[in-house]
Every structure is written in structure tokens, then in C-alpha cells.
Symmetry: C2
Subunit: 368 residues, 2 copies
């Protein structure tokens, strides 16, 4: 495994050298994890000019369970109490003879950037930009298999919840139970705060679970994901509570389902991001819900939830094979509730069977 990380760092350094920077200082947490295999809090990773060094504010490997980074990655734990690993990284880069250092201007605050610049006045600071994020876009099969397990865990947690009695329980308790089940099935934790919405709050993206209790006749929408070895799955489903759904519920569900299917079917290598959004969005626009849609119909997943690409009307770029994304349209009718359906899939060429669905919980409208 350590070779994987070393290879990723070499690729980054090559890119830096091509752009005229002699070393890179990586501070985005997911980027550090991608390149080092570990992401201690507030760590900085210096890639080049000679040795790669992971700089940490305190020793992240000082526990019985944590493994140390392997291969040629050195670990440097800052002495004292006040140091900034990014500043220490710049100091090292200068000491190792680098004349220029590419930093992540979209992660470093203005204040830290100034401190990094001040510590080594002879060192020119360039902007690394989202170079690591771009490298993370296409996943290798090892990463995809982590995502596959993360999706399976979320499916299991959701499946078990559906077998229990739901009426009378609060959104908060359902969310907590789901999170406990994620861990039961091997997740290191939820990928993001589990959202459970009932009745008038069903179908809202990112709804924070409240003390509202599930009632007969409610829509119940659930959005959760598992973190497995740092990789984040995402799934949302909407159910009806009670014997039989109302007509408006069936109609709305079918509209969102049709939109979600259209989005999924558009997931092929070479498809522009915006066309995936369009495919799903136009179904809901035709149903009169155009002004109720969120800014995007899906997004990439990996070491972060909601990473690139954005499947949105103005997004630039085209899908590649082996890019995992969500397709997650939803419609919320104020005062009544709504529907959200969300899967994690991997873009695959048609010759390989097309998009690979990772979250396999049924999308039939279940009455629970």
C-alpha cells in the first residue's frame, strides 16, 4: 500500500515541477490523507524537493492501534506548543534548497499563508490550486472497493431500520440508530450527519433531525452514508408510513424516481457533467418542480462527501470512467413534505455494463 501513496506523491511533484514549483505543501485534510495514507489533525505534507515529510502538531501515531506511515515518507512532530505544521513545512522546504513552493491557496487562510511566507523570505510561494483534488477524481479499484463496502454498510443499516417499528419514534432517534448500525457493520463512523425528515420536513436536503415523531401518513426520508477507511458512501430513500400512500405522494415519488433514473442512466464516460444534471432536472421541470430543485443533481464521493465533480447546470467537464458520484434529486413541497432518492454509483463504460450501482436498497415506494 505504501507504494500507492508514494506513486501519488511522485505524480504530484512531477506536475509541480512542470509548473515551475520545486516542492508542494499540501494542507487540505483529505488531500493529505490521499497522499500520505494518514491525516492527523492539522497536519501538513511537504512533497519534495528531496524527502517527503508529514508534519504534525502532535504525534498522531502515539497509540497502540495506529500504524506508522511506511515507505519513504518521514514524519516530523513539531516540538513545543505553538507551531503550525504548514510553517514548519515551508521552513524545511527552504532548508532543503527549494526556491519555490506551491501551496493550496484554497485551503490556507490568509493569516497562515502570510506566516508561511514570512518564515522563509527567500522562498517563492506559488498556488498549487486544486491539483490534488483533480488527482483524486478518478479512483483506483482499491478505492472503489472501499466505496463498495461503504455502500454495502449503509444498505445494511437502512435495511435493518426498515424492519423495526417506526411510528412514534423521533427523527433524532432514528438518525442515531442508523449511525449506530453503520458502526455495527464496520464503518468507522457516519460519512456525514445522518438526515431523517418526516412529514412536512421529509425530502429536505440536509434536514437536521428534530424531535418530531413519525406519524401515520407521513413521508419519511432518510439520507445516510458510511465512512469505510476514509471513503464515503451516500444513499437516500423515501418511504410512506402507514397502509397506503396518498395520490399526491405516489405522484411525487414517481416524478423524483423518474428523474433519478434519468440521471443514473446518463452516467457514461464522456458525458458532460451538466448533461447528467440536465437529464434529471428536465424531468422535474416538466412536472412543474423546476423552482424547487437544488443547485446540483449529484456530486463526486471519495475521501470527502461532496467532492468533485459537481453535477450542476454550469459545471464544466466530462465524466471519466471510475469516477464515483451520487445522483440525488429531491423535491420538497412546503408544508406537505417531499421525496429524495440518492444512490452512489461508479461511472463505467457501456462495454463494462454501464454505471455500477453501489447502493442497492430498493427504490420501490415502500409503505411501512
Amino acid at each position: 500500500m505504501s507504494d500507492v501513496y508514494a506513486a501519488r506523491r511522485s505524480r504530484l511533484l512531477e506536475r509541480c515541477l512542470g509548473n515551475g514549483s520545486e516542492a508542494a505543501l499540501v494542507t487540505g485534510a483529505a488531500n493529505v490523507r490521499y497522499l500520505a495514507g494518514h491525516a492527523p489533525a492539522d497536519a501538513a505534507l511537504l512533497v519534495g524537493p528531496v524527502h517527503d515529510v508529514l508534519l504534525c502538531a502532535s504525534d498522531p501515531f502515539d497509540t497502540a492501534s495506529a500504524g506508522r506511515p511506511a515507505g519513504d515518507l518521514r514524519v516530523f512532530v513539531l516540538p513545543g506548543t505553538e507551531g503550525d505544521p504548514a510553517v514548519a513545512g515551508a521552513e524545511r522546504a527552504a532548508a532543503a534548497g527549494a526556491g519555490s513552493l506551491a501551496v493550496e491557496e484554497h485551503h490556507l487562510t490568509v493569516r497562515r499563508h502570510r506566516a508561511v511566507g514570512a518564515v522563509a523570505p527567500g522562498l517563492r510561494l506559488d498556488d498549487l490550486g486544486p491539483a490534488v483534488e483533480q488527482q483524486r477524481l478518478v479512483k483506483d479499484e482499491e478505492e472503489i472497493s472501499c466505496l463498495r463496502i461503504a455502500a454495502e454498510i449503509a444498505d445494511q443499516a437502512l435495511g435493518e431500520l426498515l424492519e423495526s417499528i417506526l411510528v412514534g419514534r423521533t427523527e433524532r432517534h432514528l438518525a442515531l440508530e442508523l449511525e449506530r448500525r453503520l458502526v455495527d457493520h464496520g464503518a468507522s463512523g457516519p460519512a456525514f450527519p445522518t438526515s431523517v425528515g418526516t412529514g412536512p420536513d421529509s425530502g429536505l436536503a440536509g434536514h437536521v433531525p428534530s424531535d418530531r415523531r413519525v406519524e401515520e401518513g407521513d413521508f419519511l426520508s432518510v439520507c445516510l452514508g458510511a465512512d469505510y477507511r476514509g471513503y464515503h458512501s451516500e444513499i437516500a430513500r423515501t418511504f410512506v408510513i402507514g397502509t397506503s400512500p396518498a395520490d399526491w405522494q405516489i405522484e411525487l415519488y414517481e416524478q423524483v424516481f423518474a428523474a433519478q433514473r434519468a440521471g443514473r442512466e446518463a452516467l457514461l464516460p464522456g458525458t458532460p457533467y451538466r448533461d447528467v444534471d440536465r437529464a434529471a432536472r428536465r424531468v422535474l421541470e416538466a412536472a412543474g418542480h423546476g423552482d424547487r430543485l437544488g443547485p446540483r443533481i449529484g456530486h463526486g464521493v471519495g475521501l470527502e462527501n461532496g467532492e468533485d465533480p459537481r453535477l450542476a447546470p454550469t459545471a464544466m467537464g466530462k465524466l471519466d470512467a471510475c469516477v464515483p458520484v451520487t445522483v440525488d434529486p429531491g423535491v420538497h413541497l412546503p408544508g406537505r413534505g417531499g421525496v429524495r432518492i440518492d444512490d452512489t454509483l461508479v461511472v463505467r463504460p457501456e462495454a463494462d455494463g454501464g454505471p455500477e450501482l453501489l447502493t442497492i436498497t430498493t427504490k420501490e415506494l415502500l409503505a411501512l
Copy 2:
């Protein structure tokens, strides 16, 4: 309540005007919450020059349960999909006639700062610095009562755990159960990821719970906190599993307990931060643990866990009354385990009875 927020914003604007800036753009999430009463994801708050405006990427009040901000705070939801609320805030400030705008350089990334500067070229950007963080340091009684409830919730969750059987359960499950109990007792969630360490990993600050199971003879250390209305309590306790602690366990416990008590007793208005650290640290140094101590012996709590002040050897400043802090020394002996004891307290003058202990779970060494 809305008057409280308006008064806080007026105070900030006064300070800005005194420093030559005509308006402030606040982007730190806890700072936005402190001044607006709400902190939607990625929101920015423009204070002055005419009206205060909360700028949001999507409508955060589009749910049945969320209240809208009251009083003179306006809410502006960005149209479209690509906007940055901070950029929109700078645009508004310029449109309202401001010639200068103080921004939080310690929260804004270099990239966002550039975008904010580019949108209104006639607008001079100043550094607001940690002005809002400083304003947040001394709490009002309403804030302290939220912290008191948050501490009570953590005490209750911990108390219930101690009544259950612990041997054979994993760190991860204990942590999850604690988090569920926090919510049961009214927390909106854990204040930070609950840490449970057993055996060789006991006593480690911020230990991520693993699948290790509790065994007879282990130290078990637990660190948790509740989030109640945004306010964060923190408590850590260490227990011994089984009939009777070993001699080294009793000795280590007594050392950490004595240090923690010394730290607590130093919490009086006017005491330099570093003297609180010193009071606790010297007890453990005398016991030969000097090189095993963390960088600080405690920290402020409020809308963030680990906010100012830092009770550390090089910290500058003195305690004020009504500043809530933790006192949380710990010692970890590699391969054997360790002890951590942590309370949340409020600094009070001696005339009012001295430091107010919010987390009241016993600090006797319990054998469970």
C-alpha cells in the same frame, strides 16, 4: 433574544469604526452564530455599514422547524448555484457605500479573500482579526446556563454508562452509546467525537475509539461533551475495570487528580492563563511526567470546543469572571495506559464562591 444578537453586532461595528473600517464581513461559523443566532453552512454575515445582512448559499430557514432571524437582521439567499456568500457580502457593502471592509483573514482562504477583493475594487479590505472571538470570551448568564445544561447532559450520559456492564464491549460501541444518551437527554448532538480509550490506549487525548474490548484490569478513559443550543460542554473521567486497581494505577490516578485539582483551584479572575497551566503542570512534572504532558492544561469552551483562552505555558492574558474553561490534564504511559480527568468550569470571583464546577460526576477512582 434578538436584541442580544443586535447588541453584539453593534458592539462589533463600533470596534470596527474605531479601527477605521466601515463594515465587517464575518465568515467564521461560530462567529456568525454568535452574532446572528443562526449559522447556516457557509454563510457570511455583513455587519454595517447600513443594514446587517446574513448571506446564505441556500435558504436555511426552509424547514418547518427552523425559526427565522428576528429583529433588524436581513437574510439574503444567493440566487443561482455558484455564488460565495462572502463575495456577495462585499458587493453589498460596496453598494451600501462602504469604502472599507474588515474581513476575518484567519478564516478566509487566500482564494476567497482574492475573490472578495475582486468583486468591489473600490473597497479596501482590512483585517478584522479575532475581534469576534475576543467578544465571545466572556459569556453572559444565558450562555452559561446553556453550558450548565450541556454539562448536566454529559454527566447524565456518563452516569448511565457506568451502571451498565462494560467488560467485553468495544471502545467504539461505548462511544456510540454515550452519544446516543447525550441525545436522549436533550443534546442536539455530541460537542465533539466521543473518545473512549481502554487498556494501553487509555488516557490518550483525542484517541479515536477502536474495536478493542474492555478487559479486566484495564484503565478506561472516556471524554465526551454535549452540544446544547450550540454550547459545548466537556468532561473526561478514568475508571478501573475489575475488582481492585493495581498500585501503579492508583498512584498515577492520584497524581493526575492532584494536578487537575491544582488547576481548578487556580481559576480565579485575574490569574494569568499560564499560571493555571503551571499550577497543574508542576504537580505532574514533580511526579516525573513532565515530558508526557500535552501542550496545554485546559481551554475555553462555548460555541466551539477548544476556543480561547488557551491555558498553556506561553499563553498571554488573564482570566476574567464568567469565562468557561476546561481543566483537563492527562498522562499516558506507553504500553500501559493512562489517566485523563477533565471538567468544565466557569471562572467566578472568590466572593461568589470561586470557580463554578459544571460537570459534577465524581472524580473518585471508581473500580467498575
